[in-house]
């Protein structure tokens, strides 16, 4: 293999004399990446071609004297020839052009200076932005730079020469799990978690630095699990260590009976969250301000607005959540038959053929204002007395991974049963209608707000579906997971088979896992 090393050229030596570094910095600060208001004014006024006055045409500045010239019209070339000034800088991108080599060159020292100046400017530009306009939706910030390995990483790469190529058809990441006696409730969740992209990336890049003394860290075990899943081994994995740790840390799940997969999910996330000291070194003690990987991925904020029916004062609380549990029609809780259509389902392209309930129907019910009857009066701080009120739930902050739990298992005093009503769910989900901000717009009279095509923040893609077959007493869990964007596989304990999108969408659905389509850097 040939390695392309960024090549400088010998012709820069004439430039690299005296105080050249400082001079170069000044050029970057004033004319290429102007960060301050004054330098921007200066740039606006002076950056025009000295020969023709144009500001477009790939303006370049001579590095040896104060001359600006068009590249396209060859005005800078003329100058270079006449004055024998062989170096110029592109004012748009900061590249250095050598007229002798007749190409852009990449001198290590000069590149270093360029990078530093650019970083400085971006930081101050961000501050300016916030100061002058309050919002900054163009996202000026830390520029994306490609990964460069550290010394340690280079060492590791050299010591581990085996490379694995991920093609669109490879099955890396797919692995069966042996059932250790009614443990499919655990297996199905493990399949969903090992195929959660951000979680996978976190563990495969060794981001967990364990501070627990004993061997009972669940996060370490998860890390090990990911290694097993992405090892390329095709034989089913036996998760006995994971099971043992679960029994240790979540006693209520111990035993050989079938447990609820949803309960296992919440218990697992809880233990993982507790065992993750904030991997940046700070202690993750405050549940409202934790930045462990579990919270970063799964935690959303649920807003609850209680409105007094007398004075219309609103009392708002925001609670963190890891999942959204949705009531289904046919349960003993009243499920209002909502008329088909409306914001939610037209946005998510669902059809209401044969009156099937949709996921968005359930979400609309979840976020509808609920009148708390006269027997449940709330003390209103505005009225200073107990009044009737309405309560409404909306999403304040969406998690990166949204998990919807369809409440199929009814455990009321009277009956214990499974609700098998079919609920249709989409491949792509837009959560905009259920946001607290959307509710505010509606209240301010902006009905039917034009769907902001450029706002992709609330769009989600389905990536895992956990299903339960059977009855409350004896049942079996399986999971559909998504691989390589549009391939789906069914995970039934040790058996992995290819599945069609239709198989997935026709399934009953118990736990639905959605992943945000677009991620913003913080």
């Amino acid at each position: 293999t040939k390695y392309i090393v960024p090549a400088g050229c010998p012709h820069v030596n004439g430039f690299k004399v005296d105080n050249w570094k400082q001079n170069l910095r000044v050029i970057y600060q004033c004319f290429v990446w102007s960060g301050s208001v004054e330098s921007r004014k200066r740039k606006a006024k002076s950056c025009i071609c000295h020969l023709c006055g144009a500001h477009l045409n790939r303006l370049h500045s001579c590095l040896y004297c104060v001359f600006f010239g068009c590249f396209t019209k060859k005005h800078i070339h003329e100058h270079a020839k006449n004055k024998r000034h062989n170096l110029a800088i592109d004012l748009l991108y900061g590249g250095i052009y050598c007229f002798v080599c007749q190409d852009y060159i990449y001198d290590k020292d000069m590149e270093q200076i360029a990078k530093e100046e650019q970083r400085k400017t971006l930081r101050s530009a961000l501050v300016d932005c916030f100061v002058s306009c309050g919002l900054c939706d163009a996202g000026v910030g830390e520029k994306y730079s490609t990964w460069e390995p550290t010394k340690r990483e280079l060492e590791l790469l050299r010591h581990n020469p085996k490379r694995r190529r991920i093609t669109t058809n490879c099955t890396i990441g797919l692995r069966g799990l042996i059932n250790l006696g009614n443990t499919c409730f655990m297996n199905c969740i493990v399949q969903a978690l090992t195929h959660t992209p951000l979680l996978r990336d976190f563990f495969l890049s060794d981001r967990h630095k364990c501070e627990m003394q004993s061997n009972s860290c669940l996060v370490c075990e998860m890390s090990q699990l990911f290694q097993e899943f992405y090892s390329g081994h095709r034989s089913p994995h036996i998760p006995f260590r994971l099971l043992h740790l679960v029994w240790t840390h979540a006693r209520h799940l111990a035993g050989y009976e079938q447990q609820d997969a949803h309960e296992f999910l919440i218990a697992a996330l809880d233990v993982l969250h507790r065992h993750c000291k904030d991997d940046n070194g700070k202690k993750a003690n405050n549940p409202n301000n934790c930045s462990c990987i579990i919270d970063q991925i799964f935690t959303g904020g649920l807003q609850s607005d209680v409105t007094c029916q007398v004075c219309h004062g609103v009392s708002t609380t925001i609670d963190p959540f890891w999942d959204i549990s949705l009531d289904l029609p046919g349960s003993s809780t009243p499920f209002w038959p909502l008329s088909p259509g409306g914001d939610g389902s037209t946005l998510n392209g669902e059809s209401h053929l044969s009156g099937a309930t949709t996921l968005t129907d359930c979400l609309r019910r979840f976020t509808r204002p609920e009148h708390l009857g006269s027997s449940a009066k709330i003390k209103c701080s505005g009225c200073h007395s107990y009044q009737e009120s309405t309560k409404q739930l909306t999403m304040k902050k969406l998690p990166i991974v949204a998990c919807f739990h369809l409440k199929r298992f009814e455990h009321s005093a009277k009956l214990r049963r499974k609700i098998t009503t079919y609920v249709s769910f989409p491949l792509e989900l837009d959560m905009t209608p259920f946001m607290a901000s959307s509710k505010e717009s509606r209240m301010n009279g902006q009905y039917q707000q034009s769907v902001d095509v450029f706002n992709n923040d609330n769009k989600y893609s389905l990536f895992a579906v956990v299903n339960h077959q059977g009855t409350l007493e004896s049942g079996h869990y399986t999971t559909f997971i998504r691989q390589h964007k549009d391939q789906w596989f069914k995970c039934d304990d040790a058996i992995i088979t290819k599945a069609s999108i239709k198989d997935v969408l026709d399934s009953e659905g118990y736990l639905l896992f959605y992943h945000k389509q677009f991620l913003e850097y913080e």
């Binding site: 102007s34 208001v37 921007r40 025009i48 500001h55 852009y104 530009a125 932005c129 163009a138 450029f454």
Partner: protein, 96 residues
């Protein structure tokens, strides 16, 4: 310079002073990545490099070859949005 390019230059100046030009550049960059334009251009560049040979190709070769294609492939929706943004920014500081 004719009236048109005078206007262009004045607008450009205003946008630079406001810091808006940088923001617009970043917005445009993000949009062009999202719609796959950047990937298309990358592929085009690779083709040119293969054609000219890695040892001999210059930045100028690439600029000459892909600029017209690049300009043509920018989606109308992106052009529209940028135009809207520019109009809005200038309207805010309308001493032009």
């Amino acid at each position: 310079m004719n009236k048109d390019s005078q206007m262009r230059a004045a607008i450009n100046q205003k946008l630079i002073e406001m810091g808006e030009r940088e923001r617009l550049k970043e917005l445009l960059r993000a949009k062009l990545v999202e719609c796959g334009w950047k990937d298309q251009m990358k592929a085009q560049c690779k083709d040119v490099i293969r054609e000219k040979g890695l040892e001999h190709v210059t930045v100028e070769d690439l600029v000459v070859e892909i600029t017209p294609k690049g300009r043509a492939l920018v989606p109308d929706s992106v052009k529209k949005e940028l135009l809207q943004r520019i109009r809005a920014s200038l309207a805010q500081h309308s001493t032009l």
